[in-house]
């Protein structure tokens, strides 16, 4: 038997692990991420001399069905031209038959890492609104993400926010595909209920991440998963952003899910989020989809209303409270107005003497 030195062994493990890009225009640089379905590498597009992220299925001798799913994921992304969604450049096939696609290489940090820094509430909410806008754009194109979580949101060095990993996205646009299509990839944390067929998309197969999944999604009720399921996940992301706490992992029991996901906690030892935002989280993460915001756009509007000091859908206020809040928000203007009124009154009262 051939004896292999430690150095040869290390080299062999590395070269056999790395994908063979022979015959493509890409040159491999390094691995940058790994998920349940595939691995993402940093590669160089040699003719254009630019760096791209290259995603390849891990499976050797990839089944056609799985290849089709990766292609669908690439097509989903290709349809979503939005500043908050990473653009796809190219799709292709390696010499070993594995399908790959390339996308913009995003330099940035995952949201869960980004918020480890002390960020003001307004910045956290700005990131959240940008996230909602990207998801709302996808919803407008009849596409559900189905695995929204801080690990799948990137924040760039200039504050740009990108929603990543559309591997388990679901296309609802029958007119475009001829049928309802499910990319059904296996992202991190996916919970295949059927060990024999982890990619299956029938009832009972759970795709998503515990804690961030809507109850109907956790139960594998595929027919009930709609944009409001993504709204639930966005609510969980908001909770994470405001409390620093990961929503509890209760993927199947509805009551437990919501018991564990009550917003609370603290950010950096300070008191928890304002009551209004807690109400927003509760509404977004309502057990019954009917009680949630209908769309991600509606949720973004709600946060914008909070930022503008306007009344929230999730937090009705009495006229007294509303008036008090109005006065507090426009304190300077009110003081000026009152001062003006008082001065005018005094002028009227004593000016005629």
């Amino acid at each position: 038997m051939r004896w292999l030195s430690d150095r040869a062994l290390v080299r062999l493990r590395r070269v056999t692990e790395l994908p063979d890009l022979t015959g493509t225009k890409y040159r491999l640089v390094e691995e940058i991420g790994r998920g349940g379905m595939g691995t993402v590498y940093l590669a160089e597009d040699t003719p254009l001399a630019r760096r791209v992220a290259l995603k390849i299925l891990d499976q050797d001798h990839t089944p056609k069905e799985l290849s089709a799913r990766l292609l669908t994921e690439a097509r989903v992304l290709a349809r979503l031209e939005h500043p908050g969604i990473v653009p796809v450049h190219d799709v292709g096939e390696l010499a070993d038959g594995r399908v790959f696609y390339t996308m913009k290489y995003v330099r940035g940090r995952r949201l869960d890492q980004h918020v480890e820094e002390t960020l003001p509430l307004s910045e956290r909410l700005r990131i959240f609104v940008r996230t909602c806008e990207a998801v709302a754009f996808a919803h407008a194109h009849r596409i559900l993400h189905r695995d929204l979580k801080p690990e799948n949101i990137m924040v760039g060095p200039f504050g740009e926010v990108l929603v990543m990993d559309w591997g388990v996205a679901k296309l609802l646009d029958k007119s475009a595909t001829g049928t309802e299509t499910d990319t059904g990839g296996m992202a991190d944390g996916e919970l295949p209920a059927s060990a024999g067929s982890p990619m299956a998309t029938a009832h009972g197969v759970v795709m998503g991440t515990p804690g961030y999944m809507a109850p109907e999604q956790a139960r594998g009720e595929v027919d009930r998963v709609d944009p409001r399921s993504d709204v639930y996940s966005l609510g969980a992301v908001l909770q994470f952003l405001l409390t620093g706490q990961i929503p509890s992992e209760a993927p199947t029991a509805v009551s437990e899910t919501n018991q564990g996901n009550r917003p609370g906690g603290t950010i950096g030892g300070k008191t928890g989020p304002p009551r209004q935002l807690r109400a927003v989280i509760e509404k977004a993460m309502a057990e019954d989809p009917e009680e949630r915001y209908d769309t991600a756009a509606e949720l973004a509007d709600e946060i914008q209303r909070y930022l503008d000091g306007r009344q929230l859908l999730a937090y009705p206020e009495s006229p007294v409270v509303r008036t008090g809040r109005f006065l507090a928000r426009h304190r300077v203007a009110v003081i000026l107005l009152l001062t003006y009124v008082v001065v005018r009154a005094l002028v009227l009262l004593f000016g005629g003497r």
């Binding site: 038997m1 051939r2 004896w3 292999l4 030195s5 430690d6 150095r7 040869a8 062994l9 080299r11 062999l12 493990r13 070269v15 056999t16 692990e17 063979d20 022979t22 691995t39 891990d58 499976q59 050797d60 001798h61 990839t62 089944p63 010499a95 070993d96």
Partner: protein, 251 residues
Amino acid sequence: MEDDTRIGGPEGRFPVTRWTVIEGVQSDDPGERERALGTLAATYWKPVYKHVRVHWRRSNEDAKDITQDFFTRLIEKRYLDSYDSSKSRLRTFLRTCVDRHVQNADRDERRLKRGGDLSRLDIDFVGVEEELARKGLGAEASPEELFEQETIRSLFGLAVDDLKKECEARGKTVHFQVFEAYDLADREDDRGPTYGDLAADHALAVTDVTNYLAWARREFRRLVIERLREMTGSDDEFRREARSILGVETG
């Protein structure tokens, strides 16, 4: 580099269909069991021998006896009947069996150099001591790490042998030579030949070197996977091992 070890039994064979040594060792057919033992020993005799030498600090001669005896008793005592791939990896199970075997041998103070109705394995231990000397007997790796490292070394070494045979059979000896020069040499990564050097050595275009190397690596990986498939007890274990050793899921 010359082959330094000769293993008896049917090593070198690998089935096209899904066949595992676990099934073979548990078979009632003596021929099938012998074949399985040969395959198992081809991959594991060096890890076992080195484990006994390094972890148990046995002499060269004692380690040879223990290794020989372990594989014959593996079948005689049906050690693998209690193996459950959902609970542990085969190599972890085997290392535990070796430890128990050494303890029993100490207790009994005897080692049977026979294997029931099986012929004794023909293991040529020449060269294995040299390998140990290169690494050093006082290697800092834990017993688990050493056993894993040596198992992978054996697995890859056998796959290299398979690749060489395949290249010879398919008239692709230059492919193997390029692979050998670039990937198998004991050198630092930045001290080896360039693609240009290899192209000049073998009168090839540089693009041919790229393609030959890519082909050889692809075949090598396939052969490792085939060996691995044989040496694991279940599809789950196979996938875990493939991911651990090659970083890939395998279908």
